[in-house]
């Protein structure tokens, strides 16, 4: 008689045993398994809802891959620059460059959990998670390769993560802290509980809905397919956090959660916030970034906190305030420093400005006048008057430009440590640094490297150092300073 799934599954997944020839602490050293170190007795009830077997995993993934490939076969060969909105094409380049190899790095985090996670069911799930992350790297690499013949900058899908481009340094700095240089336990809480459960819905589901609206069904299918994996392997975080809290680690859990919430917010506003509100065609914008954040991220996150008896992060009020400002000022930074990007940036059209004013009531007074000045500079003085002539100051924690000013408030701050002064974009970034200065103090941001003589000081040299080789590779104004809504051509 064949056994039913439930009769044998736990025997296959729960294969922990007692070690006779080595100590459990030697098999699972604290430094890679996580602090506080707990005996397996504390972990033995670790469970997650999916309980996938390898066989089921392969069957499910096969169906998902076939579905993505079918859409790619049907639509992916068409010339992307002809079938899609030009700003959306930039979004695809931005997303691919920022995400593809980051997913591959996430595989390292999953594999650390697959080896040093403290229960076999956790390790089983993490093994599948590692396969997921490889898939999440393979899909954009495949689709990016298809697009190379239309736009060479799609090669940033592969090369971006290995360059010194400033945004990529910021991504690596975050991902190192989150999972490539974190214990199995910290990875489960930071990557799967905060980043994946908390934020990736936005990047993969909300963005998929927008891709549908933008008629990019290849991208839509890929994003949605990836998110089905994310929502499965993200389940590792809950039982790890629960075990930690039940064993006296509530304060540490709160700390990891606060640190990674802020760090995730910073990278999402930079990537997703700007993409949704500036690169998505107007008629494809289902909601504003702020609305998505409120509905999809904040509500769910607060419910999760309640479930675990945890507090709102101490910086919650600042975070809520930033929803109206941060990604808008960051977008101005992206546009102004466009030669340091691998994709082009547009100025917002009059219709888009109207939409921004409607969704963000302070936008018209705060950022509208700056865009007006930039547009006026294009018209009267040409491109040269719209480019930057100074280096931006960068945060010594998130590595992003300190671009979070708004009327009456500048969140930037400094800290003296070890004989030098460090600059931060905000108090939460400074607080994160202060918790572990030994982890972060030696990292040099791009500006530090230039002053230390480790990077060139001239623009051409810096761009080359950042990975821009071809003359047409650095980002430009999407419409060459002559957007379709102008009746007369720019003087540039």
């Amino acid at each position: 008689m064949a056994l039913r799934r439930d009769d044998w599954l736990d025997i296959a997944r729960k294969v922990d045993w007692e070690f006779r020839y080595v100590d459990e602490r030697e098999v699972f050293p604290e430094v890679v398994s996580g602090t506080p170190w707990l005996p397996h007795e504390a972990w033995k009830d670790w469970e997650e809802v999916y309980r996938n077997t390898y066989r089921e995993y392969v069957q499910n993934q096969l169906v998902k891959d076939e579905s993505v490939l079918a859409v790619r076969d049907a639509l992916g060969k068409a010339k992307i620059t002809e079938r899609l909105d030009p700003a959306w094409v930039q979004l695809a380049k931005f997303h691919n460059g920022a995400i593809a190899l980051g997913e591959y790095a996430a595989c390292l985090g999953e594999l650390r959990m697959a080896r040093f996670g403290r229960d076999s069911a956790w390790r089983t799930m993490a093994n599948l998670g590692a396969l997921d992350e490889i898939r999440h790297c393979q899909i954009p690499l495949l689709l990016g390769q298809d697009l190379l013949k239309f736009d060479q900058n799609f090669d940033w899908t592969h090369k971006g993560y290995h360059t010194n481009e400033w945004a990529m340094i910021a991504a690596r700095h975050l991902f190192d802290d989150m999972f490539t240089a974190a214990s199995a336990m910290d990875t489960a809480i930071q990557l799967t509980f905060v980043f994946e459960t908390g934020f990736t819905n936005l990047q993969f589901i909300a963005m998929a809905a927008m891709a549908d609206g933008a008629d990019d069904h290849v991208f839509e299918k890929a994003l949605a397919s990836i998110q089905t994996d994310e929502s499965r392997h993200a389940q590792q975080g809950h039982p790890v956090l629960r075990t930690l809290i039940e064993n006296g680690g509530k304060d540490y859990g709160q700390y990891l959660l606060e640190k990674m919430w802020w760090r995730s917010w910073r990278i999402f506003l930079a990537l997703t916030g700007t993409s949704m509100d500036y690169l998505t065609p107007l008629d494809a914008r289902k909601h504003s970034f702020k609305e998505f954040m409120e509905e999809w991220i904040m509500d769910q996150f607060l419910k999760n906190l309640e479930e675990f008896g945890l507090k709102r992060p101490w910086f919650w009020d600042l975070f809520v305030e930033e929803l109206d400002y941060a990604h808008h000022s960051f977008q101005l930074g992206l546009y102004t420093y466009r030669p340091t990007l691998w994709f082009d940036e547009p100025m917002p059209s009059p219709e888009e400005r109207e939409w921004l004013c409607e969704k963000y009531p302070t936008w018209g007074d705060t950022y509208g006048p700056i865009w007006d000045r930039i547009e006026y500079s294009w018209k009267t003085k040409g491109e040269a008057a719209t480019l930057p002539y100074s280096l931006p100051s960068l945060c010594n924690m998130c590595q992003l430009p300190t671009a979070f000013m708004r009327p009456g408030k500048n969140t930037a701050c400094t800290l003296e440590h070890g004989g030098r002064k460090y600059l931060f974009c905000s108090e939460p970034c400074r607080w994160i640094f202060q918790q572990q200065p030994e982890r972060f103090a030696e990292h040099k941001n791009v500006i530090d490297r230039i002053f230390a003589g480790e990077a060139p000081t001239d623009l051409g040299g810096v761009l080359e150092w950042m990975g821009f080789g071809r003359p047409d590779e650095p980002g430009k104004d999407l419409y060459g300073g002559n957007p379709p809504w102008w009746k007369t051509p720019a003087s540039a």
């Binding site: 102004t336 700056i370 930039i374 008057a385 100074s390 100051s393 300190t402 500048n410 500006i447």
Partner: protein, 82 residues
């Protein structure tokens, strides 16, 4: 001595790196920063410039960077007087 400072112009959107001499006047710093911002991203009102340190204290435009207490890595803000 040459030091790097971080200047923020009120109502602009980001901080900029300013390489300054410690014996340079604070007023010169303000002019240097405003040259990268005024008329390009922020409208010039014609008012005089004011400089504040990280704690929001007004600095004397005739003081040197060193006399004003600005050291390497410090933040300052420049604004057009009301």
């Amino acid at each position: 001595m040459v030091i790097a400072l971080y200047g923020f112009f009120e109502n602009d959107f980001l901080g900029l790196v300013i390489v300054a001499m410690t014996d340079q006047k604070v007023g010169d710093l303000a002019e240097q920063l405003s040259g990268w911002v005024l008329d390009l991203r922020i409208e010039r009102t014609g008012s005089s410039l004011e400089v504040l340190n990280e704690h929001g204290e007004l600095l004397d435009l005739d003081a040197t960077v060193e006399e004003a207490g600005l050291t390497a890595g410090d933040i300052f803000t420049v604004r057009q007087a009301a």
